[in-house]
Each structure stands twice: as structure tokens, then as C-alpha cells.
Symmetry: C2
């Protein structure tokens, strides 16, 4: 029996409560807006890391900016977002899925999960945010629960995390206007 | 009169003590190696952020990896390195200069200095590391002292920081083998 520290009763939003108000803006954009709000409100300093790119060829034209003419996407070795909140180090990965029922674990990289486990070991706050775009639902899954699902995945006993499992082992982020995604409210409740 | 909290007597290495042993390996590579050492030794989780790139065109060939065929370097809005050390958020910028006597402040971006000031406000540990490659000397300059030099720079009263000023208002990082640049030793002495 695996013990999930953040386990609680499943409470899923009825599918009738779907909000389509935020379609068109990506999850990443919404998070960036939320982080800008947190920064302006003096609440936290959290930034998205740039996409890791392997630069191969750069062209330096006269009187113009350098142009990268050949580059490749690299596998990220850490997570997408990190920063400081109430003096604590915070570090998380954010993923969106169009799948209605499951989040496939192949959307994460081994390096990212291992990085999160390291961060937790060193006293940081770390978690996964997953958006189910069909329902406009966002869940925060603490690292220790993700690590257990990941272990099952590595053993070949699991390929994905079900939406109900996010509700059960994670916490739904309440919808808002300012900021759009008030994930630090949930972080405060869970970790501080 | 400006007050520099970390002021102390200048102690410069004699120019005869120059070590050329580490030429060929960049400052950034050395820092990455040091961070790998810290991670393996369970001391800290600190990573370099990827270079920020604005991707314009991507080519998706059949049976091969996507190729970025047009991209531009963006101005970084934060610093190069961040992570967690002894439960504390740590954030710093690293620069190398071939200049023997000064570090020109135009090597830093306004955004980066403002980011460091924000981090400090939120309780993080933040500083600038500068390597004078001619002498193989690396100095750690705490954010509050950098902020004061930067203020003078913005007012047009200063264009650079002199090497002696780094010795006076910062701390020299001792040379080592494992890790090559043991900057966390100095962080521990100054901030913890």
C-alpha cells in the first residue's frame, strides 16, 4: 500500500460548470500574467525559465542583430518555473492536457521529476500544475504524491494520472481574475 | 556619503600569483561544474537558466528533430543562476571580464539589477560574481553594494566598478579543485 500524504476525498467539478472564458490564452501565458501580478503586488518573485535551446549556427549581419540560423530544442533538465515566495524557494512544472480524463506521464521528463525530488530534499516547495483544458480545471499536485505516481510509472504499473486522482491527491486552484491563476493561495494553504 | 554594508579593507592578490591553470574553460563552465559538484554532494540545487531566445521559425522535417531556422537573442529579464541552498533561495548573475582594472557596468542589464533587488526584498540571497580573467580572480559582490554602484551608474556618476572596489566591497572566492569555484563557502560566511 502506497501512502499519499496529501490524500483526501475526491471532489470533481460538475462538467456543466465548464468555463470557456479563458480559451485562446495559453496556460503558460496565464501563469506568466499571474506571476507579473504577484511581482507587482510584492507577493512573490517567480519567473518562467527560457526554453532550453542548443544553438548551432549564428549569423552576424552588419548593422543588425545576430540571427540564430540553426538551433535545436533540448530536453529540459529542470522545471519551467521557480522563484521565491515568503522567503521560501518555490519550483514547479506546468503542463496542459486536452485529454478529458487522464494526464499521460510521458509528458514529464525523468530529469524534471528527479529535480523536484532534489528540491524537496533541500527544503523547497515543489509541485506539478496540470490544466485539463476541456474543463478549464487546474490542479496542484505536491511533489511527494507525484513522486509516488512516477515510481509506479517507472515500474510499468501506471501510464497516466487520472483527473479524479488529481482531485484526490492534489488541490484544485480556484479561478480568479487578478491573478488569473491564484496558485500561491493553494501553496500557502498546503505548505506554509 | 553612501554606506556600503559589506565594506572592508582592500586586499588584492599580487599580480605575480596569477594562475593560468584554468584557461580554456569558461567561467560559466566552471560554475556549472561547481553546481554539479554541489548537487552530487547534496549541498545545494543550483542551475543555470537557458539563454533566452526568441524563436521565429521552426522547420519540422520528416523523421528528424525539429530545427529552429530563425531565432534571436533576447535581453535577459532575470539573472543567470538560481536555486536553493540550506533551504534559502539563492539567485546570482555571473560575468567575466578580460579588462585588468575595471568591470564596465554596461555588462549588466537594468532588468537584472532590479530583479536582484526584488529577490533581496523577498528574503533571498543574491549577488554578482565577477571574474577578472587576467588574474583568474573571482569576486562576490552582495546585491546591496551592487545596487549602490548601479545607482551611481544611473545618475551618470560612474561607468564601472574597479577591481579594488570588488576587493573592498565584495569577497574574493578562494580557488579550489572540487568544486573549482567554491562560492557557497563565501555565501555561507556572508549570508548565513
Amino acid at each position: 500500500m502506497v501512502n499519499y500524504p496529501h490524500k483526501k476525498k475526491a471532489t470533481l467539478t460538475s462538467e456543466k460548470n465548464i468555463s470557456f472564458g479563458k480559451r485562446g490564452m495559453s496556460f503558460e501565458d496565464d501563469l506568466t500574467k499571474s506571476n507579473e501580478h504577484y511581482l507587482a503586488a510584492n507577493k512573490a518573485v517567480i519567473h518562467k525559465k527560457p526554453t532550453p535551446v542548443q544553438i548551432v549556427k549564428v549569423h552576424y549581419p552588419k548593422r543588425a542583430a545576430a540571427v540564430i540560423t540553426e538551433a535545436y530544442f533540448r530536453t529540459p533538465s529542470t522545471t519551467d518555473f521557480n522563484g521565491i515566495f515568503k522567503g521560501r524557494y518555490i519550483d514547479f512544472e506546468a503542463k496542459e492536457t486536452s485529454n478529458a480524463t487522464i494526464f499521460p506521464l510521458q509528458n514529464l521528463h525523468e530529469h524534471q521529476v528527479n529535480h523536484m525530488i532534489e528540491v524537496k530534499k533541500h527544503g523547497g516547495i515543489t509541485f506539478l500544475l496540470v490544466k485539463f483544458s476541456k474543463f478549464n480545471e487546474i490542479y496542484l499536485l505536491p511533489c511527494e504524491n507525484l513522486a509516488k505516481f512516477w515510481q509506479e510509472y517507472k515500474l510499468g504499473n501506471r501510464r497516466s494520472i487520472r483527473r479524479e486522482e488529481f482531485a484526490q491527491y492534489g488541490t484544485k486552484i480556484p479561478e480568479g481574475a487578478f491573478p488569473r491563476i491564484d496558485y500561491l493561495k493553494v501553496v500557502e494553504e498546503l505548505f506554509l
